[in-house]
Symmetry: C2
Subunit: 463 residues, 2 copies
């Protein structure tokens, strides 16, 4: 583990990252990076409306109403809540609602969901400062880059204990906000430091299906915005919050960190380009197995009722996370049960957002199927994780036949991205799931998303 | 390390603590506990006004103004800021300002400063809900109890990496707020869970004299209030955030936890009664050595100029914290340098708030003295820490004479508490240091503090 501190021997990696981040301009961003930023923005917008009815979101919105200002320039995506507020509170609510339905994106190497923290924060701040579409895109690119690099630095062993989306995310939010506030490198470094010393988010909620997941993303937005605004106003943050002797690497990482991830290939290896869409509506750790199972069933003409048992071979982090949710007593928790997710996929031929319902929780055919699914650690697959999220399923049929299928990439991975049409289809489905039926309005928001760099302001992205 | 989880074998320790905390009423609280609550309240009030000019406080107040409501029932202690706001923001500012001057109290066994998180949060919430003095006192007693018990559970090895005042404090704040909101045991448990999953605060700021210390206390207030209000409104927090298999004990404690601290002797061993006043204005880890040195100099008629060198024998945690601040380049950082603090004490005969000045930082006699002070680990002293904060100093004089002095208790410890007169004297000095000169007003606030249980509301505690 590195202990570089803020030595006299030249800038630390964190300083390098902060300087790069403060200096990035829209014109320096390649076109494919801009396109991905728009793809994931639309993808995120759908998630934010889809999650609006969750009780955690309602409680957090109530907190925003009671503790925040009764007016402000920053909008709650769920227009039915009918209030706008300050950026810290708007992002608190939108960050919570976009992490409800397990459909937001993933940056594989850092094991983080960047969209659900970066977009709500950047959007809310952009609305307050009156940023253009170009400025918004540049800030989001910075947020992805800084957040995901921190997540990758913290690594697998950190992820075993902490919800990296929050702990890396808060730093990405600080950097994105700092960019919109046009802070210089020194103040951006302060923002990163103050964000890092607030980094938090434990997995304990998975054990009893409680609501911390949305707390983590909403608060990562709030706390990162706090870090950047206070840095602007003179609050000094620790200068080496990643690698310093009392910093995140030492305190929050039980195993090895990956220091080079902090600043290698800045400006050539873009985090947002190596992010993945989620196609299925379940925990991303189930996706390689779902893809392998659906492919196997199709290839070999195997049907739900034909299957006697399934062994999924996966990586350790999947076993750790999926092993915590028991049998999946709520719809949300059921998306973290490998057995239940494969049951849904096998029975319905897909595992989209509309495929997980309250009724399914008491469907005995699904529950019995679920019991016949087991997970095993695959050393080879584990050695490639998190660079690659691979999976193998071995299906034994009631007939005695046995089939095996492996996937190298999951649908939505950078190597197998969603098409423009699929992104739109998913966004429409998410809006419908969120109970929003104004098709013309959805079309309008889709159109604005595709033309984001030409927008003169970011107002009005509400359903 | 315990992994009790939420088993079917009866309530967990955390459930026991939450239930006790939800059920405690003012009439159940012994008179000496009530008295200590008033003592520490006044002590805290002085700290809050004394720290008002710190740049971190200014930046955080600016954040509160920009992100919070422009009106509200909760007051900023520094009346010159001239705004009241929602409880979350008022406590954010007051929590920051009361942890600036290193004069706030200490709970020895948990290595926490409870006042700076519990009082600002409880005061702000009490003002919003219109609580009486009795209700406020009960909530503060609950906050101390829950926060300090969590800090003691997390223990010494946690404190090596985390600012326990924040990580235990946020849970104490949640419990105190839950009490003022009259939440039942189940919702109090949710508040505790949501607080714990936000627990954060690293020591990295000590290395470069940056401002996280005030961020940690202010945010512990904000985050704990968030936890309790959202729990009231239906947000579920993890039920075993302390001892569960993915909870704080596992994720935030590299060494041993002390599970029995969570709930043993509830209602008989009161955290606030075992808290200590800080008499000297330096890091509490220097106090045993300051006391020993002052005693030794008096007993043996030794003066500043007589001293050639000093060896202080102390516990490991002191070495860890005090070893991070280098030579003490700022007034705040100088209070974390054992050598500098002993130099001040030796030269001025005391180390009160007015004894640490900008001029002292460039006083060559102090700087040279500082270099002749060294710290050594004392195994016996270390074995008793943090139950006892002891210290030994060995002074070698220029004459060749050598003296040794040990203290079992520091001035302000529960065994050597401040007198009523000393508490008032300290509060007046703190107000003066904060630039507040209206003596009549200070007298009025002191008088109200001594009669807190008879107050019908908590409004107007501003300077």
């Amino acid at each position: 583990m590195s202990q570089s501190g803020t030595s006299a021997s030249g800038p630390t990696r964190t300083e390098h990252l902060a300087t790069w981040s403060a200096n990035l301009q829209f014109k320096d961003i390649p076109q494919d990076v801009v396109q991905k930023t728009k793809d994931f923005f639309l993808d995120w917008l759908g998630c934010a409306i889809a999650g609006r009815h969750h009780p955690a979101v309602a409680a957090i919105a109530q907190f925003a109403k009671q503790m925040g200002p009764s007016n402000g320039k920053s909008e709650i995506i769920d227009g039915s809540l009918n209030f706008s507020t300050s950026p810290a509170f708007a992002s608190l609510v939108n960050g919570a609602s976009s992490h409800v339905v397990e459909q937001d994106d993933l940056h594989n190497r850092s094991i983080m969901h960047p969209a659900t923290v970066i977009y709500p924060a950047a959007l809310a701040v952009a609305q307050e400062v009156g940023a253009t579409g170009e400025e918004f895109i540049a800030a989001c690119v910075v947020g992805y880059e800084v957040g995901c690099r921190v997540g990758e630095y913290l690594g697998k062993s950190h992820y075993e204990r902490f919800h990296s989306t929050a702990t890396g995310g808060v730093i990405g939010v600080a950097a994105a906000t700092a960019h919109l506030l046009k802070l210089d490198a020194t103040k951006t470094l302060s923002a990163i430091g103050t964000a890092g010393t607030q980094a938090a988010g434990l997995w304990q909620f998975l054990l009893d299906a409680t609501h911390s997941k949305q707390v983590h993303t909403g608060k990562a937005c709030f706390d990162g915005i706090f870090a950047a605004y206070t840095a602007r106003d003179g609050l000094l943050g620790p200068r080496d919050i990643l690698e310093g002797p009392r910093a995140m690497g030492i305190a929050l990482v039980p195993g090895d960190t990956k220091p080079e991830a902090i600043d290698q290939n800045l400006g050539s290896d873009w985090a947002i380009v190596s992010s993945s869409f989620k196609w299925h509506a379940s925990c991303r750790h189930t996706h390689p197995s779902v893809d392998a199972l659906l492919s196997l069933m199709k290839k070999n003409d195997v049907h739900f009722d034909d299957i006697d048992s399934i062994v999924t071979r996966t990586y350790q982090a999947a076993l750790n996370v999926l092993g915590l949710s028991g049998s999946g007593e709520t719809v949300h928790q059921s998306k973290f049960s490998m057995g239940f997710v494969l049951a849904i996929a096998a029975k319905k031929g897909q595992a989209m957002i509309t495929d997980f319902t309250e009724d399914d929780l008491t469907d005995s055919s699904l529950r019995e199927f679920q019991k016949r699914v087991s997970m095993e650690l695959d050393e080879e697959i584990d050695s490639k994780f998190p660079e690659k999220w691979q999976g193998t399923v071995i299906v034994t049929c009631k007939s005695g036949e046995k089939f095996t299928e492996s996937v190298e990439f999951a649908k939505g991975d950078p190597e197998l991205p969603l098409t423009k049409d699929e992104i739109e289809r998913k966004a429409r489905a998410l809006a419908t799931y969120g109970g929003f039926t104004d098709t013309a309005r959805v079309n309008q928001l889709i159109e604005r998303s595709w033309n984001l760099e030409r927008e003169t302001n970011l107002n009005g992205f509400t359903f």
